[in-house]
Every structure is written in structure tokens, then in C-alpha cells.
């Protein structure tokens, strides 16, 4: 455990400094593909058979430690139901990473995922790192989307790709790690324009308070 509270880790106290970077990550995809389940598995190590459908969006954070950097994810888990579609841009704009999720047992959700990728490529930040997750891989017996098909699509579009299972935890941490590795963490890229915010003292990410 490298940090107790994000931001304090880089107090200049002579100890070897760890960079702390904060990234905004958004999850997109059809309803019921398992976005919330993936996040819950990643953040809390839990899985609920009866996960409630998300309303609006959910916000969670999780920190991962790479060799020389600590990456803090601010995760926005959007609601997949169609009627919330129009809210999505608010959440993916300014995001440095996105996970587009589909359900390998449902061909339609794969089509929907492709549309999300297209929308991100058009509207989101040009440097956004996009990962494609074929979730529910534990249900391979009912598979409708071929691994090769999705892999080929991901290759064409320069996406990270993994088949995951929130239920068995397969590849869940891995996909977040892969994203963390791919994100630009150099000093120069640390600016708001290209990468995550480099945290300085006193810049602890407490929520700004426009409503209070």
C-alpha cells in the first residue's frame, strides 16, 4: 500500500518519491452487460447476482500501484439504459480512459459497444485510452460473440481488448491495470490536456463544492 490518502504520498520528505496520477475513467455499454459489476469487483472485490440497474451514474474511486507510479482512478459508471444515453457525454468528456463493455452472450450488446466506440472516437478527448471488455466470459457456453471477431475489431480500432468476468473476477484487475499502463504518466504528459492530473500538495481531490 503506497498511499494512505491520495496526494500525501508525494510529500517531499526525502523518501523515494512515487508519482501519483489521477485519471478519470468512464464505463459505457448497454444496460445489464455488467458495467457496475466490473467496477464493484475491481473496487470492492464483490459480486452481486442481483445487481440493480444503475440510475444516472455511479462514482467510485480505486488506486492501483504500478512500478513507480500510483494511479488513482476516478471511475464513472454510467447507466446503460437508453433513456440515460443523452447524459453520457457529460461523463466521458474530459475522461482519459474508457471501458466499453458488452456481454459475450448477447450479439446486440456488441453492436451497441461498437457504436459507443464510434461516439468516443468522434466526441471524446482524442488521446482517450479505450478498452473493450467482453464481459460474462464465465458464460462461454452461451457465447454469441466470437473472441476472434471482437479481437479483430479491437485491433482495427486500436483498442485494448479482454474478455472479463465480474463473476469469477477473471481479467478484471488486468484490464484496469492494462489501462493504467497505457496512460501517459510522464511529467510532461501530466497536464490536464493530455493525461491525468499530477497531484501537488494541497491539491487533494476533495470534491469541489459548487453546491454548498
Amino acid at each position: 500500500m503506497a498511499t494512505n490518502r491520495s496526494g500525501t504520498a508525494q510529500r517531499p520528505n526525502g523518501a523515494p518519491q512515487t508519482k501519483v496520477c489521477q485519471f478519470k475513467l468512464v464505463l459505457l455499454g448497454e444496460s445489464a452487460v455488467g458495467k457496475s459489476s466490473l467496477v464493484l469487483r475491481f473496487v470492492k472485490g464483490q459480486f452481486h447476482e442481483y445487481q440493480e440497474s444503475t440510475i444516472g451514474a455511479a462514482f467510485l474511486t480505486q488506486t492501483v500501484c504500478l512500478d513507480d507510479t500510483t494511479v488513482k482512478f476516478e471511475i464513472w459508471d454510467t447507466a446503460g439504459q437508453e433513456r440515460y444515453h443523452s447524459l453520457a457525454p457529460m461523463y466521458y468528456r474530459g475522461a482519459q480512459a474508457a471501458i466499453v463493455v458488452y456481454d459475450i452472450t448477447n450479439q446486440d450488446t456488441f453492436g451497441r459497444a461498437k457504436n459507443w466506440v464510434k461516439e468516443l472516437q468522434r466526441q471524446a478527448s482524442p488521446s482517450i485510452v479505450i478498452a473493450l471488455a467482453g464481459n460474462k466470459s464465465d458464460l462461454a457456453a452461451k457465447r454469441m460473440v466470437e473472441f476472434e471477431e471482437a479481437q479483430a475489431y479491437a485491433d482495427e480500432n486500436g483498442l485494448l481488448f479482454m474478455e472479463t468476468s465480474a463473476k469469477t473476477a477473471m481479467n478484471v484487475n488486468d484490464i484496469f491495470l492494462a489501462i493504467a499502463n497505457k496512460l501517459p504518466k510522464s511529467e510532461s504528459a501530466g497536464g490536464a490536456a493530455a493525461g491525468g492530473r499530477r497531484l501537488a500538495d494541497g491539491d487533494a481531490p476533495r470534491s469541489s463544492s459548487c453546491c454548498k
Binding site: 500500500m1 498511499t3 470492492k44 444503475t54 440510475i55 462514482f59 488506486t63 457529460m90 474530459g94 459548487c210
Partner: protein
């Protein structure tokens, strides 16, 4: 690898900048627009998308907002209050106390009501019509209180005298004056004790009611009336169920309509003349109407107030989703109609093909005839064939016109199955008529 995480999960219509929960999509949008103006580019793209999705938002989210506000007893004025942090003090659960009080009350009502119901049942079954016998019957079941010493009506405290006589409640036997009596119609009483006999008789006038109905005290009447209401509400279909059944029935109608539409459409593409473009358009309109109806009803269902997160709320949402999907996939994905010009073209091609076929046939016939000259003189014209002059009242023509009338009618009523049959019929008649003419000439 994974390290510290903050424990709380926020969920709702969260502002991506300040993480305030705005309770509805529209409030979130306006909050975002008014307080986070600095993110101009974000806003611009957002506006674009909102323009496109305005309709969805307006339709769906106002409902959603209402449900939310209602459920959370919230409105925008309370917003500030909500944002203030408030710590919970000492708390104690009063649920058990509440339960105890409630069950005691329920018990009292239930036993009392049941007692009255049993009496009511005995009273109305085998009730003699003769007034004196009836009085006896009533008193055997519920003994009347001896009122000789009672001077005042226990209910209104007015003195009993010659004009204010003593009466008895038929269910509890207590004393009361006429003014304090309530009357229960016997038919209503029967339907209460036996719900299988529905009370269909018309309501009696006051005079009849007082003459034939059961005289009750207010207390007994209220308990019985309450029971009746519970019974009725249990049997009554809720608005929700009614809306659902109506929606199902529309779906039931839509299925054959779509099948018919597909058939008609195919027929047009095949160049057949059975249906007109107008017919198929009318059918499309009919399906559109059905879709509209289904949409409306399913919206009513989803808007029906239910605590968010409960099974009912989920079920309502699921119904709406299924309906929307059904409309989108089955009703609005109808095949596009060909244009007049396309139809013309297909028909022309078909006609030409037929024409060529006929030419070919004719030439072959001629060749045949030429090869074997007739052995016998040509037959005289058939005696029953009509003469060329009276073509107008040819029964075949007449029949054809009648059928044309039928077709018009069926078309007006959108009965396209019938149109198809009649059109075939008409075609056969035409063919026969042509043969007839050929044989004449």
C-alpha cells in the same frame, strides 16, 4: 496491486464536476449548464446531443423526475436543505411498538367484523317475507336489548316518546331511535356474505330501503361497509392491470396486422394488382395507431407511482421496456413501401412477360392448326352463348360489378383478407368472360 479505495459509492444524477446529486436528468443538465459554464466545449457538444435527444429527455425524464421527487419528498426548493450535512443523533426503533398497537387494533376490528358477518349471514339466509315472522327470525339470531327502562336514545340522547319510538339494531340488538338508524339493503347484504352473488339489483329508494332493509346502528353499519369496501377493492382490477390488459390486446391486434402488411407489401413488390398502394398505406397507418396506443399505455404503466427500487417499480419499467422494444422491433421496422413508379415498373414487366407468353402460345396453336387442317366444318356457335349485342346484361359482367362493389367495401373497412379473396374471384370471372368472348368471335 490494488490499494486504498474510498468506501462510499455515489449513485444518482451526479454532476461530473462537483458530484452533487441532482435527482433528475433535466435538473442535472440545467445545473451543469448554469454552474459549470467554463467548460464551454463540453457544453457545446452536450447541447448538440441534447438537441437530438430533447424529445427523449422531455418525455422520459419529466416522469422520472416526478417519481423521484415524490418518492423522496423532494422538490427543488428543498434542495438547499438537502445539501446541508446533518449528523444522525440517538435513534430508537419504534417499529415493534407500532406493530403491537396495530395488531391489537386489527384484531379487535377483525373479530368484531367477523361476528357481525356471521350474524348477517344467518339473518339474510331464509329471511321470511312476512313481517311478523321476519321479526321473530331476526330476534332468534340477535336477541334485542330490553328497552323498558331506557328513556333516552343512547346515540343522540333524545327522549323516547310516542313520536320518537324505540328501535333495535339488527346486528347488535342495541336500542336506537329512527333518526339514528342506518339501513342496509338485503341484496347488498347478500353480496357481502357471499361475494359470488354479485349485487346487480338497482338501488332501492329510501322508502323501500327503510321498509325492507336491515335496520342497523351506525357502528355496525360502518364495520360492514368497511368490509364491503375491502372486498370490492380486492375484486376490482387496478388501473394498472386494466392498462396492461388493454396494451396486451393492442399487441394481439398488431400481430396479424403486421403479417397482413408484410403480405400486402410482398404482393406489391411482386407486381400483383390485388392491393393498391393506398391499401398498404392504410394498413401501415393502422399499425402506427396501434403502436401509438401501446406506447401510450406502457407509458401510463411506467408512470404509475411506485416506490423506486421495489419489485413493482422494476416490473413497471420492464413492461415499458418490453413494449418499447416491441414497438421498435416489430411495429416500426416495417418494410418500406415501393413507390408508385416502382410498382408501375414491376407491373409493366409482369404484363410484358404475360403478353409474350400469350403470343408464344398463340403462335404454337396456329402452327398446330396449320399442320392438321380441320377434318370437319367449323362448329356452329354455341346456342347458349349470348349475342354480341346484349353484352351489357351479360350475367358475368353483372357478377363482376357486384364483386367490385364488395371489394370497395372491404377495402374501406381495411379487411384485406377479404379483398384478396374477392380479387382472385374477380380475376377468374374476367378470364371466363374473355374465354367466352373468344369462343364467340
Amino acid at each position: 496491486m490494488a490499494a486504498s479505495s474510498e468506501d462510499q459509492i455515489l449513485e444518482g444524477f451526479l454532476c461530473p464536476i462537483c458530484k452533487a446529486d441532482l435527482k433528475s436528468a433535466s435538473q442535472l443538465t440545467s445545473h451543469f449548464e448554469s454552474l459549470h459554464q467554463e467548460e464551454q466545449d463540453v457544453l457545446k457538444s452536450l447541447k448538440e446531443i441534447f438537441g437530438k435527444a430533447k424529445k427523449i429527455i422531455l418525455n422520459d425524464d419529466t416522469d422520472l423526475k416526478e417519481t423521484f421527487d415524490k418518492a423522496l419528498k423532494f422538490n427543488s426548493q428543498d434542495q438547499e436543505y438537502y445539501c446541508e450535512e446533518q449528523s444522525v443523533g440517538v435513534s430508537r426503533s419504534s417499529t415493534d411498538y407500532f406493530r403491537a398497537v396495530r395488531s391489537a387494533r386489527l384484531e379487535r376490528y377483525a373479530t368484531e367484523t367477523n361476528k357481525l358477518l356471521i350474524r348477517l349471514d344467518k339473518l339474510v339466509c331464509n329471511m321470511p317475507t312476512d313481517q311478523n315472522l321476519r321479526k321473530q327470525h331476526e330476534q332468534i339470531i340477535v336477541p334485542w336489548l330490553d328497552g323498558t327502562l331506557v328513556k333516552l336514545c343512547p346515540n343522540c340522547a333524545k327522549t323516547f316518546n310516542i313520536t320518537r319510538r324505540k328501535h333495535h339494531c339488527r346486528l347488535c340488538g342495541s336500542l336506537l331511535c329512527h333518526d339514528c338508524s342506518v339501513f342496509l339493503d338485503l341484496n347488498v347484504a347478500r353480496s357481502i356474505v357471499d361475494p359470488s352473488v354479485s349485487n346487480t339489483s338497482t338501488e332501492p329508494d329510501q322508502e323501500n330501503l327503510e321498509k325492507n332493509g336491515l335496520r342497523l346502528c351506525e357502528h355496525c353499519y360502518n364495520l360492514i361497509e368497511l368490509r364491503k369496501q375491502v372486498q370490492e377493492s380486492r375484486n376490482a382490477k387496478t388501473v394498472l392491470v386494466t392498462a396492461y390488459e388493454q396494451m396486451r390486446s393492442l399487441m394481439e391486434q398488431a400481430r396479424p396486422a403486421v403479417a397482413m402488411y408484410e403480405k400486402m407489401c410482398q404482393s406489391l413488390f411482386d407486381g400483383e394488382t390485388t392491393y393498391h398502394l393506398g391499401d398498404v398505406n392504410a394498413m401501415r397507418g393502422k399499425i402506427g395507431k396501434l403502436a401509438e396506443g401501446i406506447d401510450l399505455l406502457s407509458k401510463q404503466i411506467v408512470n404509475f407511482s411506485a416506490e423506486p427500487g421495489t419489485r413493482q417499480a422494476r416490473l413497471q419499467t420492464a413492461i415499458r421496456q418490453a413494449a418499447a422494444l416491441y414497438i421498435k422491433e416489430d411495429l416500426l421496422s416495417l418494410r418500406k413501401l415501393p413507390t408508385e413508379a416502382q410498382i408501375e415498373e414491376v407491373r409493366r414487366q409482369r404484363y410484358e412477360r404475360a403478353e409474350r407468353q400469350i403470343q408464344l402460345e398463340r403462335r404454337r396453336m396456329e402452327a398446330e392448326v396449320a399442320r392438321q387442317p380441320p377434318a370437319e366444318p367449323p362448329e356452329p356457335p354455341e346456342p347458349r352463348a349470348p349475342a354480341a349485342g346484349d353484352d351489357d346484361n351479360n350475367p358475368l359482367l353483372e357478377q363482376m360489378n357486384i364483386i367490385r362493389g364488395y371489394i370497395k367495401e372491404a377495402r374501406r373497412e381495411l379487411k384485406f383478407e377479404e379483398v384478396a379473396i374477392l380479387e382472385t374471384n374477380l380475376k377468374e370471372l374476367k378470364k371466363e368472360y374473355q374465354l367466352l368472348k373468344l369462343s364467340k368471335s
